[in-house]
């Protein structure tokens, strides 16, 4: 997809996963930043705007679903894609109800994840236009 680069925030407690995913996204002309936890994510969002957040559901400290709630309250236009190690339908459904754009099961291929990020960004643009 062409156009202005959009900004993606990746939140995962697994440092190796985080670092590699960020690098691969950057390589695909996506401006990506990685943070290792929920609090850091909220701090990063407060610092500068992001378009899409890729959020791990299960993390030590602040739980992914709580982070999702906080993001949706403070930045309702930011789209969130949940990453889950569980195939549990409940947490996926719960996340969708809380306003997540989609959920993806780990381990996932970047070729599956990237289209979802793009779709999320598209929706964000549409909603921004609508809210104007």
């Amino acid at each position: 997809m062409d156009g202005p680069p959009y900004r993606v925030l990746v939140v995962d407690d697994e440092a190796d996963f985080l670092e590699t995913l960020v690098r691969r996204l950057e390589r695909r002309q996506v401006e990506a930043v990685g943070v290792p936890g929920g609090r850091e994510a909220l701090a990063a969002l407060a610092e500068r705007p992001f378009d899409v957040v890729v959020l791990d559901v299960r993390m030590p400290g602040m739980d992914g679903l709580d982070v999702l709630k906080a993001i949706k309250t403070r930045w309702p236009l930011v789209e969130v894609i949940l990453l889950t190690g569980h195939a549990s339908v409940e947490s996926g459904l719960q996340g969708m109800q809380l306003g997540a754009f989609d959920y993806v099961m780990k381990p996932c291929k970047l070729t599956d994840l990237l289209p979802k990020i793009e779709l999320a960004y598209e929706r964000k643009c549409l909603r921004e236009k609508a809210s104007r």
């Binding site: 996963f17 690098r23 691969r24 569980h86 195939a87 549990s88 780990k106 381990p107």
Partner: protein, 572 residues
């Protein structure tokens, strides 16, 4: 891969045996307590009533005997009284001289005999003891009695009755003698009486087949002949009784039988009347009552026993049914909690593995990204790198399939209804078991019908049943065999059928109808819980389907799962 224990070693329906034993014990205990509570009062009532009747009747029989003995005594006393009076009258109405004349004595004797034939003879003895006159059939005139014991006794007492003796005639008789004082001289009138003449009076008291009546003297010698205890002058087998007043009734052992004996002493002679009765005869009504009571008691006992057995069987039957229901419920509950625990474990493991897998995937992806760069592509090992990374990706995919399947298996919720493709479900289930089968050299063959319609059901639960049945089939085959799985569609019943057949030993026909019972197992004691098939049965029933077992035409067991396209009852 650890070697599995040999599991179909013995065909032991262990649950059935253990339960039968338990119910047998309970049955015995119930029967014993019911019988003792009902039979003991029955026996107490029966025995006490019989005892009471027996005692009353015994008293009555004894009273009867006492009355009889006293009546006879009275008659005999009267007899002796009359005989003595008769002689006394003769002696005191005739003078010595008058009686000494043979014609007068003959005349008197004739008169006495005219009314009664008791007397044998009559004689007059003077004070020297000489037999001076005699009337009778024997030549006894002139015999001197001065030294005879009775002569002295008459002189002393005035009246004398002798004991019975045989005498010269060898015929039992006794004498009565009366003393007459006439001025300064005295003489004796003496008469002989045959015992047989008054024996009939004694015998009148004897009754029944074993009854007896006789007289004994003070020396306990028989005075009359008896039926069973001897002839006159013999000693009867009864203890000597010193003279007593009134009458006595006692039980004595005579020979082989116990006799009821009534005894009374006569007033005018020192003889005792003895009457013996056979209690067997007298107590016949009591014995009849006893037989009747015994028959009634036996009938009562039979009724009580039958009733107790009936009631206990009814109770045990209901208990067995309740236990069976409870076992099914328990088994269901146990299975549910077991599955929940297993689900949590599987989910935890899958989650923990998914995270490193994600890292591996990303790292491999990164390498792939880097391999796209120009200078790396010039490297002589570029193709090798690329192939290796692709392989890593492939195997991460493979591992992911496994963990996602684990999570799918763990996802056991309330019965849900999803479209399930049974062919896919079979394929998926078999991937769990293929390794196990391969290790045991068991071939799993599939015959899946194309265009099989989806069923609207709970795939996870059906998968569990399928897993259980196929696992059983593999266990039954043990080694080197084949498990065949066939899917088909029954158009009439709208059921999808899954048929699992094996080349194992099959199911013995006597347990075929029990294999879906909870706790029934053919596996060696301790190696199987026996829950598998009963759970399968309850799951299939819950889903509106069924599970059936039979033996195949070529041997081996055949299990058929039938799943309805749609289960009406569970909707809504």
């Amino acid at each position: 891969m650890p070697v599995r224990p040999w599991r179909r070693a013995a065909l032991v329906p262990c649950w059935i045996e253990a339960m039968e034993d338990k119910y047998g014990n309970l049955r015995l205990k119930l029967l014993a307590s019911m019988l003792s509570f009902s039979l003991v009062p029955l026996f107490i009532v029966g025995l006490s009533l019989y005892h009471q009747f027996d005692r009353a009747y015994t008293t009555k029989v004894q009273e009867n005997l006492r009355a009889l003995v006293e009546d006879r005594r009275h008659a005999l006393d009267l007899f002796f009284e009359e005989r003595i009076s008769q002689l006394y009258t003769v002696a005191h109405t005739h003078s010595f001289d008058a009686l000494c004349s043979p014609t007068t004595l003959e005349h008197v004797f004739d008169l006495m005999q005219r009314r009664s034939k008791y007397y044998v003879d009559i004689g007059v003895i003077d004070q020297k003891g000489d037999h001076v006159a005699y009337a009778g059939p024997y030549a006894l005139k002139g015999v001197n009695y001065r030294d005879a014991e009775w002569f002295q006794s008459v002189l002393l007492h005035g009246i004398y009755v002798s004991d019975v003796f045989l005498g010269v005639r060898q015929y039992p008789h006794f004498i009565i003698a009366v003393l007459r004082r006439e001025g300064d001289r005295y003489w004796i009138l003496r008469a002989t009486i045959n015992t047989d003449l008054f024996e009939s009076m004694v015998k009148a008291a004897q009754a029944g087949e074993y009854g007896d009546a006789f007289l004994v003297n003070e020396k306990n010698l028989l005075q009359t002949s008896s039926r069973f205890v001897g002839r006159p002058m013999e000693v009867p087998p009864i203890p000597a009784q010193p003279r007593f007043n009134g009458s006595r009734v006692m039980s004595l052992d005579i020979g082989q039988r116990t006799m009821l004996v009534g005894a009374v002493w006569l007033r005018n002679v020192p003889w005792m009347l003895v009457v013996m009765e056979d209690p067997q005869e007298e107590f016949l009504p009591v014995l009849q009552t006893r037989s009747l009571a015994l028959i009634l008691l036996a009938a009562g006992v039979a009724v009580v026993v039958l009733g107790a057995v009936f009631v206990v069987n009814l109770m045990i039957g209901q208990l067995q049914e309740a236990d069976r229901q409870k076992a099914l419920l328990d088994a269901d509950l146990m299975q549910t909690s077991k599955m929940a625990a297993l689900g949590r474990l599987a989910a935890g493991i899958a989650h923990e593995i998914n995270n490193p897998l994600a890292v591996i995937q990303e790292k491999a992806g990164w390498i792939q990204d880097l391999l796209e760069e120009e200078d790396v592509q010039k490297s002589e090992n570029f193709k090798e790198f690329e192939a290796a990374v692709t392989k890593i990706q492939q195997h991460v995919d493979r591992a992911r399939t496994v963990t996602h399947r684990l999570l799918g298996f763990a996802r056991r919720m309330e019965p849900v209804q999803h479209p399930v493709n049974m062919n896919k479900l079979v394929e998926e289930t078999l991937t769990f078991l293929e390794n196990e089968a391969r290790h045991r050299n068991i071939e799993i063959t599939k015959e899946l019908q194309d265009n099989l319609p989806d069923v609207l059901s709970d795939g996870a639960q059906i998968q569990q049943v399928l897993l259980n049945v196929v696992n059983n089939a593999i266990d039954a085959v043990e080694k080197d065999g084949r498990v065949h799985i066939k899917t088909s569609y029954d158009k009439d019943l709208h059921h999808v059928l899954v048929e699992i057949s094996d080349t194992g030993p099959g199911i013995p026909s006597d347990v075929l109808d029990k294999i879906f019972d909870p706790f029934f197992t053919t596996k060696k004691l301790g190696s199987g819980t026996g829950l598998g098939l009963s759970i399968c049965h309850s799951i299939m029933t819950k889903l509106g389907g069924r599970i059936e077992a039979r033996n195949g035409p070529q041997g081996g067991a055949v299990f058929v799962l039938a799943i309805p396209l749609q289960h009406q009852a569970s909707v809504g």
